[in-house]
């Protein structure tokens, strides 16, 4: 056994010495969050939760793709060289599969993934009695939240990327379409946006796990919010928007556009709407406008010869949505972080 560290208890001068010691050791890279993240990641990947979610998501993305592949194949000769051919694997909903494209299913399921890896982050440590033991180790308190968030993002990224690889590989094998660099880049940006959207839900779930002591309650609240935002939000928010900012057809065209813009902005408080905007612009290069806010834009978008936007143009189109999604995620994470730091170790 190693001898206990020789320390001195006298508060006067030796304290100063040991304070210098401790400052030196605090400067040394403790990397507490990395240790915690590594452990959480290992836990996630070996968990049933991960295996089941991966299986469900893989199934739900490969199935629509499998059906749309035959549609795409039928037109493949005509569409040869068209970047849409490859993206159609993701975006085309086959009539034989209820016209549901793969990205719609993924959009629906991504929040589930985010919530699943976060809802029991803090409260399970508390109920297991491991939190006080963990915090008695030389790690900063924020290392715990940071580590858990990092591990969550990482595991989601692994999931989404393996999905992209799976779909791409099947597409190549079944269609023989070799995706161009632009196609791959678009799919990659879509994957990043999807990880970002999942991170929003992860941050939300971590916040719930900080506030709500019971993991089961936190999960229920999380999944309830997911349903509310993705399902009801699709109907309720537009209704609220048109109630608050009615478009009066007798008013001037400027006023009508003003009301429409206000409606559009209100809809975009929903992260689901932000993500849908990003999807629309990134996965369909024909999209040349997301929000039309004045007559000039409306006429110019109609007068434009339908062309395909380059990726950077598409990204530029939804850059505000990207920023807003990041901001919402950071906001939720910051609230969870502060709440956790201010909480007592025991209830």
């Amino acid at each position: 056994m190693a001898a206990p560290t020789e320390t001195t208890g006298s508060p006067a001068s030796p304290a100063r010495k040991s304070r210098a010691d401790s400052r030196r050791s605090e400067r040394a890279p403790s990397g507490g969050w990395r240790t915690i993240a590594a452990k959480e990641l290992a836990d996630h990947i070996s968990s049933w939760r991960f295996i089941v979610l991966l299986f469900v998501i893989a199934l739900l993305s490969v199935l629509p793709m499998y059906f749309s592949a035959s549609d795409v194949q039928a037109q493949a000769v005509a569409a040869s060289g068209n970047p849409l051919a490859f993206l159609a694997l993701f975006t085309h909903g086959s009539a034989s599969f209820g016209s549901v494209p793969m990205i719609t299913l993924v959009t629906l399921l991504v929040p589930l993934v985010g919530i699943s890896f976060g809802f029991d982050g803090i409260n399970s440590e508390r109920s297991q009695g491991t939190l006080s033991r963990l915090l008695a180790q030389p790690v900063h308190r924020d290392d715990v939240v940071n580590g858990k968030f990092a591990a969550g993002i990482f595991v989601i990224a692994i999931m989404i990327l393996s999905l992209v690889v799976l779909v791409t590989a099947i597409g190549i094998l079944r269609l023989g379409i070799i995706p161009q660099a632009e196609d791959l880049a678009r799919v990659l940006v879509w994957a990043i946006a999807t990880v970002l959207y999942a991170s929003f839900w992860l941050a939300f779930a971590l916040l719930l796990s900080t506030i709500i002591r019971s993991a089961a309650t936190a999960a229920l609240v999380g999944f309830g919010s997911w349903l509310a935002i993705t399902m009801v939000g699709g109907f309720v928010l537009p209704a609220i928007a048109s109630f608050l900012f009615p478009i009066d057809t007798t008013a001037s065209i400027g006023a009508q556009f003003g009301a429409a813009t206000a409606q559009n902005l209100l809809l975009r408080v929903s992260p689901a709407q932000l993500y849908t905007d990003i999807l629309q612009a990134i996965m369909d290069p024909r999209t040349n406008a997301i929000m039309i806010s004045n007559l000039g834009q409306a006429t110019s978008s109609q007068q434009q010869i339908p062309t395909l936007l380059s990726l950077d143009q598409s990204v530029l189109l939804v850059w505000p949505q990207f920023v807003a999604l990041v901001a919402l995620t950071v906001l939720l994470f910051a609230i969870a972080y502060v709440m956790f730091l201010r909480q007592e170790v025991r209830a």
């Binding site: 001195t8 304290a15 180790q137 900063h140 007592e344 170790v345």
Partner: protein
């Protein structure tokens, strides 16, 4: 509270017995330890209430830390600086608390705690649930910020340098838990990684510790299959992974069966001796930790009501002896007979048990009393000397009773 500070160079005892708040029930029970108590506080020799008169003034806040020592012309009542509070701390003290207070809203969980634990000591913090033991422990580890007062662990302020403190202090929390999906060994490895111990050294140390707490065979089973006692032992191994110099154990014997407690205490005794640790342990079961502690402190409603070496706290019982007596026949018979025995000073009925009389004497009168009762044809059915275990001390020092109920 400035009176006791007039001569700061005078060495203070590590701990003083705090006078319990006067309560009505107190006078009913003779309090033999009061006068010759060796652990008596050196301060307030004349004014017993001095300690309570003006505590609200004697607060130390974190922002007082940098304040220069005040000149003599300052008003007498003022907040004392940290330096003043720590002026009398012995050189080899490992855990120091001065005027340590923690409030949650209106509730005072820990109330002006003074505590000094020296290197190599095993100190038992005793008190009922909710007396403030865990809060104290959390403040020592920097897991909770004190409202007022000063804490030093190994000369460090846990609030300001929590990492430096946590690196050297092993902690077994109340109701320790482990990650159920990981094995015992993996749980310890995680702790070792969090402490930045290199993999190979950690594995050797974990093997050693697991053998020491007799979990060698169960080490590779999932922690969720562990029994309560096994979890507690794994918790002790976990606290020792970082090779600490201080060990803080919060209710180490809670919810373990008597045999398990014996085993755990034997283990702790061995570990403390082997690793020359300074130990602070808390418990609400007095007899269990009695044999382990060099010194004990009694906590009640956030206050340390008494502290000192066990034999000194019991020292008062040497001079005055209390005997519980019961006979076959009317208890009133005892009164007359007992008072005739030389040395007996009083005979009072037990407040709870009608048939028991409490006989107070200046020395042990068990033998003559038994003879006298037999001569009076009052066969003895119960004779027990009080003041020989912690429960009695507890009754003596915590007037409001365990869990706030009267005894």
């Amino acid at each position: 509270m400035t009176e006791d500070r007039t001569n700061p160079s005078e060495p203070r005892r590590g701990l003083q017995r705090r006078r319990p708040r006067p309560t009505a029930g107190l006078s009913a029970r003779p309090r033999p330890a009061a006068e010759p108590a060796p652990a008596r506080a050196p301060h307030d020799p004349d004014d017993p209430e001095a300690g309570f008169a003006d505590q609200t003034e004697a607060t130390v806040r974190p922002w007082d830390v940098e304040a220069s020592p005040s000149p003599e012309d300052r008003p007498k009542r003022r907040r004392r600086t940290v330096a003043e509070l720590l002026a009398d701390v012995p050189e080899d003290s490992v855990i120091v608390a001065r005027r340590l207070t923690k409030q949650y809203g209106d509730f005072t969980a820990v109330d002006r705690l003074d505590l000094t634990i020296r290197r190599g000591e095993v100190f038992g913090l005793l008190g009922p649930n909710g007396a403030g033991k865990t809060t104290t422990v959390l403040m020592l580890l920097g897991l909770t910020e004190p409202t007022r007062g000063v804490v030093r662990v190994l000369g460090l302020d846990p609030t300001r340098e929590p990492l430096a403190v946590k690196r050297q202090v092993g902690y077994l929390p109340d109701n320790v838990g482990f990650y159920g999906g990981l094995t015992g060994r993996e749980n310890l490895r995680y702790t070792a990684r969090l402490n930045g111990i290199p993999r190979r050294r950690a594995d050797d140390r974990i093997d050693e510790l697991l053998a020491e707490v007799r979990l060698g065979d169960a080490a590779d089973k999932k922690a969720e299959t562990y029994s309560r006692g096994m979890r507690q032992r794994l918790g002790i191994a976990d606290a020792l992974v970082k090779s600490p110099s201080v060990l803080i154990l919060d209710e180490p014997t809670i919810a373990i069966d008597p045999a398990g407690v014996e085993e755990l205490l034997a283990l702790l005794r061995r570990l403390v001796a082997e690793h020359s640790l300074t130990v602070l342990l808390s418990s609400h079961i007095l007899g269990q930790v009695q044999s382990l502690c060099d010194r004990v402190g009694f906590f009640s409603a956030g206050r340390l009501v008494a502290a000192g070496p066990l034999d000194e706290l019991m020292g008062g019982a040497e001079a005055i002896v209390e005997l519980e007596v019961a006979v076959a026949g009317p208890a009133e018979g005892i009164d007359r007979v007992a008072l005739s025995v030389p040395g007996v000073t009083s005979v009072v009925p037990d407040p709870h048990l009608d048939h028991i009389r409490i006989v107070t004497a200046s020395h042990d009168v068990a033998a003559p009393l038994a003879t006298a009762l037999a001569d009076a044809h009052l066969p003895l059915t119960h004779l027990r000397r009080r003041g020989t275990d912690l429960m009695e001390l507890y009754r003596r020092y915590v007037p409001e009773g365990i869990d706030g109920r009267p005894h």
